[in-house]
Subunit: 366 residues, 2 copies
């Protein structure tokens, strides 16, 4: 026989493992005593002990002196024991992400979870790398900020793998259309609308809009920007709408802004809606360099209400971003998904306009 070469204690082990699989042994249930098993299988108690000892170390059994041996399901236990959640974000150090991470971290720590952090640098290969690394070891759940979400179709396979492994995940800021999962995001379209509308209400008609086009946030903000113009019956000059990609962000918008400002005075934009505060600060710099005053000559509206908005020379009028709250909510929703198995619906945050000093009211001047 082939079996002759396989040690008896291994055979017994496999037999017991099959009991688990078939449901013959359920968690918490008492296993027959060593002597019973020994008699039943015609083995010595010592041999049974060897089997039990291995199964105990592997987490299948729990032996209690004087009481007996009990079954437990290691798989389940491990998942609950893991308590490690991953966050995959595009940029770690960019101004609003630290706040999101901080909110999530605080919530997770208070709930006894560890936080794994990974950045994709808005690069799909790095996103794949990060996903692989994250899932290379047990993971309870994942918070994802999609990479270049406007371009769609990412590393779908890996996300499907997450579902197979039963690792719950949710997305923040934006969602890959192909994937079904909870989403927490700011109503960017409304934000773009509010930004433009605020300027239009203050008498601005030549408003430049600078938006990122490789993430959906930028696309949506632009959408709202256009909608506000339409609602007010103001035409948008195509040349005043500038879109750019992540790679171009340090250069192209600045140059384009300078070019717009260099035009004839009656053509020059009187206000800028900027994709975010960082860009707004940079374009304000461009305006100042060009000899224009802010807000007297040019007004600015930013996005995200970051530190930059209140630290800059002229305090920036901007739209709020929930930041810390969003991180906290994402974490607590994910924990609910893990511990209770419930999938929450999407969460939409409404951005609020924070009026500071970077917008002038043209109506008053007239």
């Amino acid at each position: 026989m082939n079996n002759r070469r396989i040690p008896k204690y291994i055979l017994l082990k496999n037999e017991l493992l099959s009991w688990f699989e078939s449901g013959k042994l359920k968690a918490g249930q008492q296993v027959p005593s060593e002597n019973e098993i020994a008699e039943q299988f015609g083995l010595s108690r010592q041999t049974v002990r060897q089997t039990f000892s291995e199964l105990e170390k592997e987490g299948w059994l729990e032996r209690i002196q004087g009481k007996g041996t009990f079954a437990r399901f290691p798989g389940r236990r491990e998942c609950e024991l893991v308590k490690t959640i991953g966050i995959m974000t595009t940029y770690i150090s960019d101004y609003i992400f630290p706040h999101i991470v901080r909110g999530a971290e605080a919530e997770l720590r208070s709930r006894g979870y560890r936080l794994l952090l990974s950045s994709t640098d808005n690069n799909k290969e790095k996103e794949m790398e990060s996903l692989k690394l994250m899932t290379s070891q047990p993971l309870s759940g994942l918070i994802i900020e999609p990479t270049k979400s406007a371009e769609g179709n990412p590393n779908l396979g890996y996300y499907l793998e997450l579902q197979e492994k039963g690792i719950p995940y949710l997305m923040i800021n934006e969602k890959y259309r192909e994937l079904e999962c909870p989403l927490l995001r700011v109503d960017d379209e409304l934000g773009g609308y509010k930004a433009a509308d605020h300027l239009l209400a203050n008498g601005h008609t030549r408003i430049a809009g600078f938006f990122k086009r490789d993430d959906l946030q930028g696309v949506n903000r632009l959408k709202g920007f256009l909608a506000a113009h339409k609602a007010r019956g103001v035409a948008v000059a195509p040349k005043r709408v500038v879109t750019y990609t992540t790679e171009q962000k340090n250069d192209l918008p600045y140059q384009q802004a300078l070019q717009l400002l260099s035009g004839a005075v009656e053509e020059r934009p009187t206000a800028f809606v900027c994709y975010n505060d960082e860009l707004a600060v940079s374009l304000m710099e461009a305006a100042l360099q060009h000899g224009l005053r802010v807000p007297e000559d040019v007004s600015f509206v930013g996005f995200d209400d970051s530190m930059l908005a209140s630290a800059s020379g002229t305090k920036l009028t901007t739209l709020t971003h929930p930041k810390t709250a969003m991180g906290r909510d994402a974490a607590s929703q994910l924990i609910a998904m893990i511990e209770e198995g419930v999938a929450p619906g999407d969460t939409l945050y409404e951005p609020e306009l924070v009026e500071r000093d970077s917008v002038v009211n043209l109506n008053v001047n007239v």
Copy 2:
């Protein structure tokens, strides 16, 4: 005897473990055979086998049939498999930490490690909590930014536990005096010196210094600040040196600055050296509110060369902080400690003065 109650195989186990600790057993070395040990200790071979079996499962020994039993260091092996490194920092979202984390994350990802992030909020209970959480599961190494380092004596026990578990760690920014480990830090004393010296060289003599006193960075910067005065033979008026704690940071310095600026003109400080850029921006705000111009009436020097320094209205003269590089170096040094077992020496970064627009030269005006 008390020993009577402790099982022999446990006693033997402890004996063998002490062999590892004392260096009597080195990695790869062959251990005496089961029979030899049995004879030597007057035990049966079965008892020795039980001990060996446990030590093998725990990774201390490797048994090869027909060949013998060999020593190996489990800590190393396990850590290499785990490939998860923790970072414990005081504030996640504060302006320079995201850059440190980012540098570490990039390095770790490229080397195939996962990054666990935890924040202590500069609070020792949270530090303890974080340490517990971090080490609740296998960990390859730890990067620590000490909490309130100037106050000393933290959760020493937990750190010693790290050493016992063979988890290598290093500290950034500052080190707990009681612990022996590699340290990466900026030469803050030199930074404080350079800041004050720059102002003194520009003819300032009434220089206010605002420093945090509950972390060593602040203490060291103050030390350098005083040293520069001494070197130039300029007395420091005690009332112009303000120290504060983390809890007071949002209020006390601002009030103190206003008070100093409200004094008689000939007593008013002509310059401020600020603990960091964040404070500098805040105090610049105070000066502006008080009707003073920056830098014409009051000069400012910050620390850390953060985004705030170049985004603020008057671009801030400040001292560099390696930030991203420090994170990257910390990560790569830690990986070397894990994979090669070598402990690097301390790393000291020299801060450089970045001259921008917030300091006026009084010598020229005279």
